[in-house]
């Protein structure tokens, strides 16, 4: 029986998720676990013990060749040629007008080899842009997303869970580093990265059909440490508490990295021209039009994306992400406000379907782990 063309793609772990009782939803064209039981419990498990995530919807694009570094310096806003082999960078790809096309993590796998990890919804845009921008450089760009599964183990117990399963010396893998290792006997790219605000690892498995072996071994090893499978719902509240932007909400093609308060990722001092340089230099010079702030509600009603933020009754901004925060026990939100707005004065409220909810303005992130 053939499925309709619009049916979402399944990851290599779909059967395991179904056996685990996951609620599966279509997310960016993929059938992904939203939650397994209680998303609040999954969130807390990641903060207090550990959670296991299937992130196989993310895209992996490989650049290989003598000029891979130069091509990425030209195509992205970051200084990727400076990244040492085995290290990773958070960076962005923008259009010529400076608008963000995606935020990325780029791993340098070798002198002439990089892996660019893109958001599921943007893989085609990023792969196409990289291919186009790499013309004239001695480099090959390959979208390998279909070949990869991605599993993340996140939380304070992640090291204890992973250590007996890998040949890697985990103490030697710093934050934002990634190397070829084995996990449960499967060759993987093992990286100390994540999107939860906790310590943890992301495990890139190729071919993807080896992923169930890795997942099952982690679940077994993690049982005594309180590891639970965690879905996209928990992932979203975890990243929100950590003040991390989500493409499509805090980041869009209408915003430059400077608008999002992430101008630090733009490296003007790198050699050569790069796509977006002129527009971004202008954006860096001119005052920021908007600023991303954190809001914590004094009430109980969840704050949601799209709701207006008011100061003394006048609209000053809009919420880009909002949710009940399991860690704070209060609704939280990220919102863009006018760049020159004095957030220390006045009374702030959010319009929740016609009712004003009192909120406090706070610095991001809402949550920072004790290191």
């Amino acid at each position: 029986m053939s499925e309709p063309a619009s049916a979402p793609r399944a990851t290599a772990l779909r059967e395991i998720h179904e056996q685990s009782g996951a609620t599966l939803v279509d997310f960016a064209g993929w059938l992904m676990p939203l939650r397994y039981s209680s998303e609040t419990a999954e969130h807390k498990a990641v903060r207090e013990a550990a959670g296991l995530f299937d992130l196989s919807h993310m895209g992996e694009i490989r650049l290989t060749g003598p000029q891979a570094a130069e091509a990425l310096d030209h195509a992205l806003v970051g200084h990727l040629s400076k990244v040492k082999v085995g290290r990773a960078r958070y960076t962005m790809i923008t259009a010529a007008d400076g608008g963000v096309l995606d935020d990325l993590i780029v791993y340098r796998l070798g002198e002439e080899e990089y892996l660019v990890v893109a958001n599921a919804a943007n893989v085609t845009v990023v792969a196409d842009a990289l291919t186009e921008r790499a013309k004239g450089f001695d480099v090959e760009v390959t979208d390998e997303s279909a070949e990869y599964a991605l599993i993340a183990v996140q939380g304070p117990r992640a090291v204890d869970i992973l250590a007996p399963l890998t040949d890697a010396d985990l103490d030697g893998i710093r934050y934002y580093a990634g190397y070829e290792h084995t996990v449960a006997g499967v060759p993987v790219l093992l990286a100390r990265t994540g999107y939860t605000g906790e310590d943890g690892f992301e495990i890139f498995v190729r071919p993807s059909d080896r992923a169930p072996q890795v997942w099952k071994a982690l679940m077994t090893a993690g049982a005594e440490h309180g590891l639970v499978p965690a879905g996209l719902s928990a992932r979203d509240t975890l990243r929100m508490e950590a003040g991390m932007p989500l493409y499509g909400q805090e980041l869009t093609a209408d915003l430059t990295p400077f608008d999002a308060g992430l101008g630090r990722v733009v490296k003007f001092d790198k050699p050569g021209d790069f796509v977006g340089r002129a527009a971004l230099e202008e954006a860096a010079r001119t005052a920021r039009e908007r600023r991303l702030i954190g809001l914590v509600s004094r009430g109980r009603r969840p704050l949601r994306r799209g709701q207006d933020v008011l100061r003394d009754g006048a609209v000053v901004g809009t919420i880009t992400s909002g949710a009940p925060s399991p860690t704070l026990g209060r609704p939280i939100a990220m919102a863009y406000v006018d760049g020159d707005l004095d957030t220390t004065a006045g009374t702030f409220t959010v319009d929740v379907r016609g009712r004003g909810e009192d909120v406090d303005v706070v610095e991001l992130p809402f949550y920072k782990r004790q290191s």
């Binding site: 609620t23 939203l34 939650r35 209680s38 998303e39 609040t40 719902s233 509240t237 109980r300 009603r301 969840p302 949601r304 949710a323 009940p324 379907r353």
Partner: protein, 126 residues
């Protein structure tokens, strides 16, 4: 999925139990599980008139906001105040301590679904 046979149901996933002219209203286990963790419940004030099929409150989960539709015509006589501090009770005991409100009804609604009919409906939605 539990669907107690002694209750009446609506196609919008409320349940109702009528005793001595007072209807107790909640949302079904199917609804609670579909919504995910319930984090806020907005209920009608005592004394409010509610109308069958019309919205009278909201249930908010981590990811969504859903209307509560009254299954009955009547006057609200009691709301479940405990849900303000513990909305997760709707998940843990949807047919028990997770009830939403009670309304005095003048006549029994005729169009409620039986447990069997409701179960058939949720099978289609799964």
């Amino acid at each position: 999925m539990s669907v107690p046979t002694e209750l009446g149901y609506t196609a919008k996933h409320e349940w109702v139990r009528i005793e001595d002219g007072v209807a107790t209203v909640g949302i079904t286990e199917f609804a609670a599980e579909s919504l995910g963790d319930i984090v806020y419940v907005e209920l009608p004030d005592a004394g409010t008139e509610v109308t069958a099929g019309e919205t009278c409150g909201e249930v908010e989960s981590t990811k969504s906001v859903s209307d509560i539709y009254s299954p009955v015509d009547g006057e609200v006589v009691e709301v479940n105040e405990a849900l303000e501090g513990a909305p997760e009770t709707v998940n843990s005991a949807p047919y028990g301590d997770g009830w939403l409100f009670r309304a005095r009804v003048s006549e029994e609604p005729s169009d409620l679904l039986s447990a069997e009919e409701y179960q058939a409906l949720t099978k289609d939605e799964e």
